[in-house]
Amino acid sequence: MIHLSRLILLLICLPLACSHLPDIQPTPSTSASPGDCPVSMFPHGDWQLLHAIEATGPGGGKQTLLGLSQISSHARSAHCVMMTLEGMVLFQADFDDGALTVHRAVAPFDRPGMAEGIVDDLSMMFFEPGRPHLQAGRLPNGMRVCRYPLPDGGTQDIATENETHWVIHRYDRRHRLIRTVRPISDQGWSEHGMPRQVILEAHGLAGYRLRMSLVEAEPLTRQPKLKKG
């Protein structure tokens, strides 16, 4: 008879043991050319974006915040501000290609690791991967995919069906799925070609979900359109 605690341990370890990255079937047309990996979902140039962010926590509690982001794709830098709907700034930070400077962090944004987590999520949504892809091909569901290595040993897959149907999956170094980003296509697209609504899901026991609705998108330089991948 298996002891209950061993059974629980076995059940906990089972997903770890089974974690693996989705198989990619190489195709002749997507062998290794960077041009075959679409990055049209990422804003190019300098932008100021205002989002209404509906955050749903692990317990199901919801809170809507305003998120202001000034991003530069060329510099891979961002200035981000999180505010209550009443305009009180809860979090303000600069991110400059790896260097993070927190200017303000009010509870719960002052928790250890919170600032880094916000920047990671923003980077995943707004910046194309900083390294060349390792693999390209098709997923079992038929979507085109490019697989990128991450500095922390993780992996990021960018899968596309067409310009408006895409999904980004991020895996940790143990190949566990930790983040998913996808647009809600029935919410349409802004005049600048950005999705009006994007959902980011953080998976795991302390998972959360961010539904980001685009309120305003303003080019800060002469970069009026997204680059087409």
């Binding site: 509690g61 919801k62 809170q63 501000v81 009180m88 609504q197 609705s213």
Partner: protein, 206 residues
């Protein structure tokens, strides 16, 4: 910071906004208390400008609020993100517009909003100088400066400056200073005092 304290703390982030609900023009605290005591209800439109150093132009929100003594409030943003905060009969609810319409949000911080109502009641009676949260100074005619008493709160809000209009009970504008690089200005218009407000305003959303 324990959970209860943190929730109360988060709820107090709304205090400076609500602090402006209903204050009469006055030249002294006694006059203020006397005049504020005559106000039983307020309805006004507002324009909220968020100024940040990084912004070339402020972020603008607009809305309308209703207050009915002793403890009913509706604080409604109409743009850019429609939302409604209702406080009535001991309950606090927030609704935010989503793709599927107005949805009620359930967050722990809302429960602590009752504390905010206690502050509002105090302010409505003009008893700013008795506030537990703010030290109040009446500077010149119709200019009030509120400074948080607690250091932790002061780290979030440096001070609030309120300019009263000539008409008793009407606010001209309010500026909430968070830091040298960040402040919020609220401008009020179309203020109606002591009119009858249907109770459903504080209970129902469209």
């Amino acid at each position: 910071m324990n959970t209860i304290y943190r929730n109360r703390f988060k709820a107090h982030l709304l205090l400076p906004v609500i602090a402006v609900l209903c204050i009469g023009w006055a030249g002294s605290w006694d006059e203020l208390k006397s005049e504020a005591g005559t106000v039983t209800s307020v309805k006004a439109a507002f324009r909220q400008e968020k100024h940040l150093k990084i912004l070339a132009k402020p972020l603008v929100s607009e809305g309308v609020f209703y207050y009915q003594a002793p403890r009913s409030l509706r604080w409604e943003y109409t743009r850019p993100v429609p939302s409604i905060l209702l406080m009535h009969d001991g309950s606090v609810q927030r609704y935010v517009k989503t793709a599927s319409g107005l949805e009620m949000e359930r967050s722990a911080g809302l429960d602590a909003m009752q504390v905010v109502l206690d502050e509002i009641t105090r302010w409505l009676q003009g008893r700013f100088d008795e506030s537990e949260m703010f030290a109040a100074q009446l500077e010149g005619a119709g200019h009030i400066v509120l400074t948080p008493r607690e250091a932790a709160f002061k780290a979030i809000i440096e001070r609030i400056e309120i300019n009263l209009a000539e008409q008793v009970g009407v606010i001209q504008d309010v500026v909430i200073f968070e830091s040298p690089d960040a402040y919020t200005r609220m401008l009020f218009s179309d203020t109606d005092l002591n009119t009858t407000i249907d109770e459903s305003i504080f209970r129902e959303v469209p």
